[in-house]
């Protein structure tokens, strides 16, 4: 959980770099002004960029430590693999961060950096869930899902539309696309997530592991829509001719990124919990053609 929290701080630090237009204030990588350990004078854009690098180093170190700890003490092989996958993701993320500096922030690389950051955040959240006491010790409360589409399908579609939204938002923030694809996709995201939350809360409100993330997801969705509107006003409507990044725009856009990351992570958690607590009946998985053969 500590790694998930540190990753959240890292996402906020990264968002501060972009919102303050400080991405290239430290022009070199992997060194900072030629040094690998010396802390530069933390003024202007440097305080955002170098702080981001320092938090990233801490998260990288924590992730390697976690993977080693899991390799030594964890009995479930798939959790050990997940630990090493987290290390691979954090390494990839560092390389993308470096490449975006060396190639002067190309939109595709910067957006990939933003998307991998949130993927890593989801991994950290999932690892916290899988290694938690409740997951290990509880006897899952199971309720079968007979509806179409299934709740699991809805959660997976929710994760997919959130990823699309994340990429569209990243491309806009990094000057690769206009703002309107991100804004136009927002009602789709709201509809799919709203449908998922309503289904989860009406059909499985007795299952704590489903109800809690569903309520949080719905609350975050409403918050995110409001923040998106404020970010639009401060950045596009009022701030397009600003001579420098203005504080209201920075607060609104950084909050929008941070809440977006939380929303994606909690949706992933909901999908995991639905997979565990709301299985689809076995009969539902049998293709129609084969059902008759079985009946015969």
């Amino acid at each position: 959980m500590f790694i998930a929290f540190a990753t959240f701080l890292l996402i906020v630090a990264g968002a501060l770099v972009t919102s303050n237009d400080a991405g290239l204030s430290v022009p070199d990588w992997p060194t900072s002004f030629g040094s690998i350990y010396k802390i530069p004078r933390m003024v202007g854009g440097v305080r955002f960029e170098h702080s981001h690098r320092m938090v990233a180093e801490l998260v990288g170190l924590l992730t390697v430590t976690l993977a080693i700890w899991l390799a030594r003490s964890e009995k479930r092989r798939w959790v050990k693999i997940l630990g090493w996958l987290a290390v691979g993701t954090v390494v990839l993320q560092g390389v993308l961060g470096g490449l975006t500096v060396l190639y002067f922030l190309p939109a595709a690389i910067s957006t990939a950096h933003a998307a991998v950051a949130q993927t890593f955040f989801c991994l950290a959240f999932a690892l916290a869930l899988f290694t938690g006491k409740r997951w290990i010790e509880e006897v899952p409360q199971v309720e079968f899902d007979d509806r179409h589409p299934t709740l699991f399908t809805l959660t997976m579609v929710s994760v997919a539309v959130l990823y699309v939204q994340l990429i569209l938002g990243g491309m806009f923030r990094h000057h690769g696309l206009s703002w309107w694809p991100h804004v136009i996709n927002a009602p789709t995201v709201a509809f799919v997530l709203g449908w998922t939350a309503v289904r989860a809360l009406t059909a499985y409100s007795k299952v704590d592991a489903i109800r809690r993330p569903a309520v949080i997801m719905l609350s975050l969705l409403i918050t995110q829509l409001c923040l998106g509107f404020v970010a639009f006003l401060t950045r596009i409507a009022w701030g397009k001719d600003a001579v420098q990044p203005e504080l209201p725009m920075v607060i609104a856009t950084v909050s929008h990124v941070a809440v977006g990351a939380l929303l994606l992570a909690i949706t992933v958690v909901l999908a995991i919990q639905v997979r565990r607590h709301v299985p689809v009946r076995f009969e539902e998985r049998v293709p129609a053609g084969e059902r008759e053969t079985i009946a015969a």
Binding site: A22, L24, R41, V43, V46, P245
Partner: protein
């Protein structure tokens, strides 16, 4: 494949990635030092030389019609070493006269080529602002970039047609020497450490350009007789053009007005 083989493949991939990154940086360095072989300026005199006895002159005033917007305030509090003029230079209008307009001969020079001046032009970083805010320079002409502030700046041109680079310059560091090889108008230069710091470079193949002063005035001398398109470019208000015909020894006044 065993574990050791996988580890060897992973290390080789990371090494290849590192080399790729190193190569790209080296390429930039060559461009920064002006050693690129793709110089576009032909030797001077590939067409008829300009006779100083018949050379003409264009001068004029650029004005702004309407109420000029109030200059935006800059918040320099994020760096205590920044103690400069804290107003934006995007729109500098004094008594209806518009400063920082780049005026140049856009068309009419044919295939004439011109000798690159030996003198450098200077960009000074002082009070956490660039001086001047708009600058004209010839292709391959040397630009000397100085830092007179007690803080580190980074100079980051973001061109469309030239090579991009980004270098930091600590206080009291030696001046950077740079050249741009291709023509480009309103090439933005910024400092990512101080996000309000912006200026515009204009890279021209000919020496026939000027930037309007605070009185809106400009002057372009030494033009051979001919028909020209004169362009007036402002960072926010865009480009306007005028056709001008110059006879020998002409001295024409060409004024231009911008609107919001």
């Amino acid at each position: 494949m065993n574990r050791n083989q996988w580890a060897a493949i992973f290390l080789a991939s990371m090494l290849a990635l590192g080399m790729l990154t190193g190569c790209s940086k080296k390429e930039n360095t060559n461009e920064e030092q002006g050693t690129s072989p793709s110089s576009e300026v032909k030797p001077a005199g590939s067409s008829a030389p300009i006779d100083p006895a018949t050379a003409a002159k264009i001068s004029g005033t650029v004005s702004f019609d309407g109420t000029a917007p109030k200059p935006s305030k800059i918040d320099m509090s994020q760096d205590a070493a920044c103690k400069g003029n804290n107003t934006s230079e995007t729109m500098v209008v004094d008594s209806g006269k518009l400063a920082n307009v780049f005026v140049y001969v856009k068309d009419g020079m044919g295939d004439r080529s011109f000798e690159v001046p030996k003198d450098s032009v200077t960009i000074d970083q002082k009070g956490c602002q660039y001086h001047p805010h708009v600058l004209g320079v010839m292709t391959n002409q040397n630009i000397e970039i100085r830092n007179d502030d007690d803080t580190t700046h980074n100079i980051h041109p973001t061109p469309k047609d030239n090579r991009e680079w980004n270098e930091s310059q600590p206080p009291k560091a030696a001046a950077l020497e740079k050249q741009f090889t291709r023509e480009e108008v309103m090439l933005p230069v910024k400092c990512n450490q101080h996000p309000w710091m912006k200026m515009y470079l204009n890279v021209s193949k000919t020496p026939f350009f000027a930037v309007t002063g605070s009185d809106g005035k400009y002057e372009i001398k030494g033009l051979p007789p001919g028909d020209y398109t004169l362009a007036f470019v402002h960072e926010k208000l865009g480009e306007q053009t005028q056709k001008v015909t110059l006879a020998a020894k002409d001295s024409k006044t060409v004024d231009q007005a911008f609107k919001q």
